[in-house]
Symmetry: C2
Subunit: 216 residues, 2 copies
DNA sequence: TGTACATCAGTGAACGCGCGTTCACTGATGTAC
DNA sequence: TGTACATCAGTGAACGCGCGTTCACTGATGTAC
């Protein structure tokens, strides 16, 4: 078993277990026994549990932001050459392309959304700092391009709505399997991720473009 | 120090610490030393850490759902007597009334939203079961009334959008302090909870009422 | 080609620590007669 | 009114357990001469 094997087996097991139970609730003993490697291997290859958590996110976020950045560049060029902008199309293609970039690397998009939801609410300060330092630029670029597409919305309202949108996206996709199960039971309706993105994109676009109340 | 004192001191300390750090990350030793009571008092009064967590949520959810139910009844009567319905008004008054019900009992609404966010993503199966068993009826009543107000939206789309809305609400209000700090730094804009609810209600309403795409 | 040494992935066992929970006990208050 | 007993909030110390991490060690592979 080569070094790469061991490292990847640990990452694979950690990814699944973290997504299922959370970070604190998953012990290194569970991870290493699932991966079929020695307990000490995590500290040998990654240094600590914290750094293993970061490595799991890195394996998701690097292809994800790479695809996102490429699509943002493509959109920017199209816009420069005068193509008109449909906000829900923009959102949907961003969602799709970014998640497709993950799938290419063999990373399950639903699992990624679950981990993102965990990262958002579990306290893990080191993880937040790691993500902001490593991927903050892509996020700001995405937010900036979206803000440009909404010149009629004042900045403070825009940013609140951006957080509303992120909340709607991460929260609902993070619980995709649970929600899907409920809707299947109650309405016999099967949903897949693409279909849900096709529902989410126009809903998010409607939220971003809603008329700004003058009462505030 | 009477029994009520000890019980309330434990609940007060647990509420603050859970909201700051999460459930697993907060030990009974930290809670009891913050509350100034004996370590064994938690198990004496509540039975276990799990039951303490449930008691913390009960103290929030009981006044919250009581206010919510009252407002839902008031709205139902107004509707029966032919009053016309404005969805963002409905949402905003529901938000306001429910959170005001909390404030009356001395419970901080922002802390409640943080705990709700934690409950949603931390695995804690016992907590989910407890909340559904105890407060599920109020939730279903709220969802049903909202669905009635949106006859043009098919049920499956409605439920996805309801989860989008819950996501936007819980997620952004759960991180209220962090988002507020960012916007204050970047734009010098101070936000309070009422103002944010006044932004959130129309945004959520726009999302719920968006035209249903025929592509799905 | 052969030998000595260095590097490095991996291992088994142990370390110390903090955790939730338990238990025997105390002391104050309430109750019965 | 006084005594015996029961109840119950609270306590201090300990229990066993699982945790992340460390450490001395192994054995295979690579490198220098």
């Amino acid at each position: 078993m080569s070094q790469l094997d061991t490292v990847n087996r640990i990452l694979d097991a950690a990814e699944v277990l973290f997504a299922e139970r959370g970070f604190t609730e998953t012990s290194l003993r569970t991870i290493t026994s699932t991966a079929g490697v020695n307990l000490a291997a995590v500290n040998y290859h990654f240094g600590s549990k914290k750094e293993l958590i970061q490595a799991v996110f890195e394996r998701f976020l690097t292809p994800f932001t790479k695809s996102l950045d490429q699509e943002l560049s493509r959109r920017q060029q199209a816009q420069a050459s005068g193509e008109e902008l449909q906000l829900d199309d923009l959102l949907q293609s961003l969602y799709r392309v970014a998640l497709a970039g993950l799938a290419e690397e063999g990373r399950d998009p639903k699992r990624f959304m679950r981990l993102l939801g965990l990262a958002y609410t579990q306290s893990q300060g080191h993880l937040r700092r790691f993500i902001v330092a490593r991927y903050g630029a892509s996020y700001r670029r995405f937010a900036g391009q979206l803000a440009n597409a909404l010149p009629q919305v004042d900045p403070v309202t825009f940013y609140w709505r951006l957080y509303f949108m992120l909340g709607a996206t991460i929260f609902s996709l993070s619980s995709f399997d649970a929600i899907e199960a409920i809707l299947r039971e109650d309405f016999g309706a099967e949903s897949d991720l693409d279909e849900t993105l096709a529902r989410l994109a126009p809903a998010a676009a409607a939220m971003l473009t809603a008329p700004v109340s003058s009462e505030i």
